[in-house]
């Protein structure tokens, strides 16, 4: 690039020097009075200028193809299509004219790029290849342009090149077109940046919403879970403090005679007494927290007396909860557990009361 750079710049300057060349010099058949045709010429110029901003070789090639299609539109005489299909004899001069008026930046560089990086077979056989070849021809022609090629005398050519003679307004308008195009290109770039910015803001908002939704969901679920666990806690609490409630849930209890209920009235006092005595023991926390389920077994076999007391107290919830969950006919399970409870905690009273109820 740096090695060949100056050559490309020279080409750019050469076209600038040739800005006086008009359609008449090149014998091209452009109807300047037809607005449609002028529009097509501008479009062709814009496509050619777009070639530099395209990145991939096939995209650059696509720009050339679009440019040439517009030129064929010009040759057809706009949308009316009064003329027959255009031949290369008509096409090439117009293409040269368009290249001269567009004066695309780095045109030669782009041509080299496409030649090197496009599939050579495609470049040499397809329609795009044909247009590309024509563009190469146009560039080659411009590089070698002289008085003879423009069918004018050398003197006049020199005068034009020196700037002694100047071109008409239509050509000046086309020169302005280059600047306009750059402006449009930058506007397009800005629009694109704006679009991307909006996209980013939208995404950020979306993410924010998602986050708050997630938080709400989480809090909801947490609240539900908290409720469930507090219910359980409450159950435990109430059971611990007032064991009376066990039998309150029991449907059979209600049908029982008030006489059987009398022993149970004593229970709350006894329970509170045992639990308060348990809290006096230092190791209560550890055992109750870690190995509640094991207590009943361990306590039976090799626990010292004081631990047995704890085991008894800690296994209380099992006793208390079970009647809630199980039906009364499973009292035998309860009965199986009962012997493991040390006698002095008042377990015997429960058994007795149960026996009585039965």
């Amino acid at each position: 690039m740096s090695r060949t750079g100056p050559a490309f710049i020279l080409f750019h300057f050469r076209i600038r020097q040739l800005n006086w060349v008009n359609a008449k010099h090149l014998d091209c058949d452009i109807d300047k009075t037809n607005a449609q045709i002028i529009e097509l010429v501008y479009k062709a110029i814009l496509e050619l200028l777009d070639m530099d901003s395209a990145t991939a070789p096939q995209d650059k090639l696509a720009c050339v193809v679009r440019c040439c299609r517009h030129i064929f539109g010009v040759l057809q005489g706009g949308n009316n299509g009064m003329k027959g299909p255009a031949s290369a004899d008509d096409f090439l001069p117009v293409l040269i004219f368009v290249v001269l008026k567009a004066n695309p930046v780095r045109l030669k560089s782009n041509l080299h790029y496409v030649t090197r990086f496009c599939n050579a077979t495609r470049l040499m056989s397809g329609e795009a290849g044909y247009y590309f070849t024509n563009l190469c021809c146009a560039v080659s022609f411009i590089e070698n342009i002289n008085a003879e090629l423009l069918s004018m005398n050398t003197e006049e050519f020199e005068q034009y090149m020196n700037g002694t003679l100047v071109s008409d307004t239509w050509d000046s308008a086309l020169i302005i077109c280059e600047g306009m195009h750059q402006m449009f290109e930058q506007l397009a770039l800005l629009a694109d940046l704006k679009r991307r910015n909006i996209m980013i803001v939208d995404d950020a908002l979306k993410l924010k919403n998602e986050m708050s939704n997630f938080k709400d969901n989480f809090m909801d679920q947490f609240a539900v879970l908290k409720e469930v666990y507090t219910v359980i806690d409450d159950c435990d609490e109430t059971n611990k403090n007032t064991s009376v409630s066990i039998d309150d849930y029991d449907p059979i209890c209600s049908s029982l005679s008030p006489w059987t209920m009398t022993p149970q009235v004593i229970q709350p006092a006894e329970r509170t007494r045992t639990s308060s005595s348990c809290t006096d023991v230092d190791s209560w926390d550890i055992h109750s927290a870690e190995t509640v389920s094991l207590h009943s077994l361990d306590a039976c076999f090799n626990m010292p007396q004081e631990n047995n007391e704890i085991a008894g107290s800690s296994s209380e919830p099992t006793i208390n909860v079970q009647p809630q969950l199980d039906e009364i006919q499973e009292i035998s399970i309860q009965g199986w557990q009962i012997p493991s409870i040390p006698c002095e905690t008042g377990g015997k009273e429960i058994t007795n009361s149960k026996m009585n109820t039965q």
């Binding site: 009064m82 004899d89 090439l92 040499m124 056989s125 070849t133």
Partner: protein, 227 residues
């Protein structure tokens, strides 16, 4: 530039797949190159209602002896001022149709120049056919049939008389060119096989890319994008 010509034919080398050939139309302006193509592809002459936008690049598919062929026909600008651009057009082409106007001696002279150039640039890689167009204007003929045919055979080209207006000789000229190109392609494949067997497969596959220094050092080269 000698390596350029076998690119297309070798890609379509398989018998079953279609072969692609690039054909250039060379000739002075107003000898009827475009009419010739339009007559061949659209079967129309000087018609304002032709469906195609342009007749400068045309594709044509045909079947020849059970082989599928894709022709891409490249029209070239024939004006004298664009003569120097010829090499850009005809490189890597498999065939060339050189058109002259039988009523115009100059156009025949131009054909001779083209052939000289083509032979210099592409050697015998390219198949040549010469078309003496506008035989409907037989009475104004200035190029004698004998001269034309003698010249054609001296350069290894086939000569045809055509008329786009009367639709004569058009189909024949394209068919004949196709046969020649197929023959050449087959011969090239055979040659490649021989050289492959002789020099080992890796060598032929080496692609040498000339850097542009070579090109810029060659003064007369007007190629804008040679690789």
């Amino acid at each position: 530039m000698d390596e350029s010509a076998d690119g297309l034919s070798s890609t379509g080398g398989g018998r079953t797949s279609a072969q692609s050939f690039k054909v250039v139309l060379l000739g002075e302006g107003c000898v009827g190159k475009t009419s010739l193509v339009l007559r061949y592809t659209e079967d129309k002459f000087n018609d304002k209602h032709v469906s195609t936008l342009q007749a400068s690049f045309v594709k044509k598919k045909l079947n020849l002896n059970g082989r599928r062929i894709n022709l891409s026909i490249w029209d070239t600008a024939g004006q004298e001022r664009f003569h120097a651009l010829g090499p850009i057009y005809y490189r890597m082409s498999n065939g060339a149709i050189l058109v002259y106007d039988i009523t115009d001696e100059d156009s025949f002279q131009k054909v001779k120049n083209w052939i000289k150039e083509l032979k210099k640039m592409l050697g015998s890689e390219i198949c040549l056919v010469i078309a003496g167009n506008k035989i409907d204007l037989e009475k104004d003929r200035t190029v004698s049939v004998e001269d034309a045919e003698n010249y054609a055979s001296s350069v290894g080209a086939v000569h045809f008389h055509t008329s786009a207006k009367m639709n004569s000789g058009i189909e024949e000229i394209f068919l004949s060119l196709c046969r020649m190109m197929i023959e050449k392609a087959d011969q090239q494949i055979a040659d490649n096989l021989v050289t492959l067997n002789r020099s080992g497969s890796t060598r032929r596959r080496t692609i040498i890319i000339d850097d542009e220094d070579d090109v810029s050092s060659k003064e007369p080269s007007r190629w804008c994008c040679s690789s």
